[in-house]
Amino acid sequence: MAALICEVVYRGIFQKNLAARIARGIVLSARKSGRWGIAFGRYGDSPQRNGIPAKDFAIVADTKEELEQNMARYEPKHTDVTIVLDDTLSKGVESWAWYGLQPINRLTVPNGTVLMTSVQPFESLLQDIHKRDTAYKLSLVRAKASFSGLWVHKEDHTEARILGALAKIAPSFLALDGVSQAIREIEWGSDLKVASARKAYDRLETRQVKITEGNAEIPYSFEMPKWWEMREGVTIPAIPIGKPKEGGQGYVPERNPYFKKFTTRTMRPVIDFDTCVKCNLCWISCPDSCFDVMPDATFDANMEACCGCGVCEAVCPVESCITMVNEAAFEDNASQWEMWRKDKAAYKTWLTAKIGDKQTTVRSHGFRFRGQYEQELTRDLDGGGVEITAGIPGENAAHKTV
């Protein structure tokens, strides 16, 4: 008797349907391989929000009894395979249900597998993934994170490729033929998708991760108040008002100390302080109040509060003053303004390198216009995907003018 427990870690809403398809696909593939299975979402992650990490689970067992034994738990405490649908989640997960930062490999059993969609090399991923005291395997399906939205699904075969890869990782639970059969028979299936699954099976890259490898940083955490420590009426203190930055100038708001936003972020704004015209638009338009006002009246995006929506780039009137860059290109959450203040020439070099890389500046965050996903799939996403435009391409599109 044995069971295979999988978690699917993904970006809320963006990948909600994708993750559900994968979890369901695992169960159906298991049935076709003569096993039993169940798929379910994590209660604590609902209601989901765009970008906030969330989890689905899928359990496959040899017998019904074995499956029921696993179903009796609220949610799995250990997983054999951790499936990660966006490689920026390798920096950790701060979900609704968790207080503090949870390393991506936290639930993975010793010698289990973290299966990730990524185009990054193993080494750069291991700079982000936290170190742990047992060895595990890291497997990569070579693909960019597939983002869509609630209503329009992006048919880029990610779900089929993950299932194919899983057949390679856990052949005693999911046979490749079982996976192929399941993909063909369920409503989103096609022969082309079956071929994608088989290719992913053949091309899966796997590497052992030693206990010496990984990000040594201790993840952010804090103590939750006990019920007897709560105040009368379950009231809580308000956040204090902020303070000037330095010398009575600028302004830094106080922030909710228990929720950081940085694991929600898939891209971050990179700011050219030299070309900033101090128009205040990014600051006023930021839903997360992430911009600190600097003494020179420029604005520094605080990387503990920024969730990476990109509205600041959209409202900025200066070309390339704010550019969204993929989170994978950064090692820490340090202040860009302080870096700029210290050495302006070095900052310029850093900035030019960051915003000049097509690979990390291409944006694929869900629906922009009808037909966009089809266009993206026919083009090479890595080479720039679909142009960011105002208006509808083919009708009235102008280059981003906002």
Binding site: G12, I13, S46, P47, Q48, R49, N50, G51, W96, S148, G149, L150, W151, V152, M230, V234, I236, A238, I239, I241, G242, Y251, P253, E254, R255, N256, Y258, F259, K260, K261, N280, I284, S285, C286, P287, D288, S289, C290, V293, E304, A305, C307, G308, C309, G310, V311, A314, V315, M324, H365, G366, F367, R368, F369, R370, I388, I392, E395, N396, V402
Partner: protein
């Protein structure tokens, strides 16, 4: 005996911000909430209290702005905030205003004007809470502002249809299918118009959009300065339920105004004033076609040309046929007859 109570209730005098550089630098709704990337409603919360200032009490009925913001034992609020039930933003506003007044009258707290703002979503406000809001708008002796943040669905619980969901939109309750493409066939309620027309003693009703941040804040300041029960309706693009790249939140807000789908106006003491891009439309500037707004959202991705032109014709009607364009939907019989003979 006639009640002598009139508008002697003192309010804070909040002068309009003269430009973006003059806006209060302090945040009273800060970072660390759990809303979506690009959440326009979170921006509305931030601007709302930035406009009202520190001497403000905020009451929030159930919805995204309650659930996502104040997750278990944490808060992003700098000003006092309290949760209230889904349909009770109106009663909470009135009760709080009355409570403050009583405490001040009895000398139990310092007498000073304190802003009371209750916010509600479109589900909590336009569907469930409409009765309580309506009642509050008739109590002219209490100063309170009710702000409806309208993201056009029950967004918190994963996008169920509300009375404010636009025609044809894809929601959990109205998924387009092969046999029936359009499931939601009802036209959206005209909430601000209804509140203004239906409550003659409510001194201020406005519509706002946070894409025009300074104007939006000035409407909040105006409402609080005027006092009595006041009502503001804000249209908030929702990247989760409308299905678009979060970066476009600002742009979609602008498009909603420029296409004429959501008119910007204020009604102060019975005087209607259009403002911003809406004013230009009323003065004859061409509206952008609604397709520019609709086709940028996944919730309308199933629309055919026929659906687009139906939507356009309904919006045209708002501007060409309504007695008061964009505000009051009925027409005088005479005007209708004249129109009929002309065609």
């Amino acid at each position: 005996m006639a009640d002598a109570t009139t508008f002697t209730n003192q309010t804070q005098i909040l002068e309009p911000f003269r430009g973006i550089k003059k806006v209060t630098i302090e945040e009273y709704f800060t970072s660390g909430h759990r809303t979506c990337q690009g959440c326009e409603s979170a921006l509305v919360m931030k601007l709302m209290v930035k406009a009202s200032g520190p001497r403000t009490i905020v009451l929030g009925s159930t919805g995204c702005m309650y659930v996502a913001n104040t997750t278990y034992y944490t808060t992003p609020w700098v000003v006092p905030w309290m949760h209230t039930q889904l349909g009770s933003s109106g009663s909470a506003a009135l009760g709080t205003a009355a409570g403050l007044k009583a405490l001040m009258k009895k000398g139990k707290m310092k007498s000073e004007p304190i802003n009371v703002i209750a916010f509600c979503g479109d589900g909590g406000g336009a569907d469930m809470g409409i009765g309580a809001i309506s009642a509050t708008l008739t109590h002219k002796e209490y100063n309170s502002l009710i702000l409806l943040y309208d993201n056009e669905s029950y967004a918190n619980t994963d996008i169920q249809l509300s009375g404010m969901t636009p025609y044809g939109a894809h929601t959990t309750f109205s998924p387009p299918g092969k046999a029936h493409r359009i499931i939601h066939k009802r036209w959206k309620k005209n909430m601000a118009g209804m509140m203004a027309a239906g409550h003659p003693e409510c001194r201020y009703v406005a519509t706002v959009c946070a894409s025009y941040a300074v104007e939006m804040m000035n409407k909040v300041r105006r409402a609080l300065t005027i006092g009595g029960p006041t009502f503001i309706h804000s249209l908030d693009p929702c990247p989760k339920g409308w299905d678009y790249d979060p970066m476009l939140s600002h742009e979609l807000g602008e498009l909603a105004i420029e296409t004429g789908i959501f008119p910007l106006y204020e009604v102060e003491d019975g005087q209607l004033r259009y403002y911003g891009k809406t004013k230009a439309i009323v003065e004859g500037r061409a509206r952008k076609p609604v397709r520019e707004y609709l086709l940028k959202q996944g919730r309308f991705a199933h629309f055919t040309e026929e659906d687009l032109s139906y939507f356009q014709s309904k919006v045209d009607e708002m501007w060409n046929k309504w007695e008061v364009p964009g505000v009051v939907p009925f027409r005088r019989v005479d005007a209708a007859r004249t129109a009929a003979t002309n065609t």
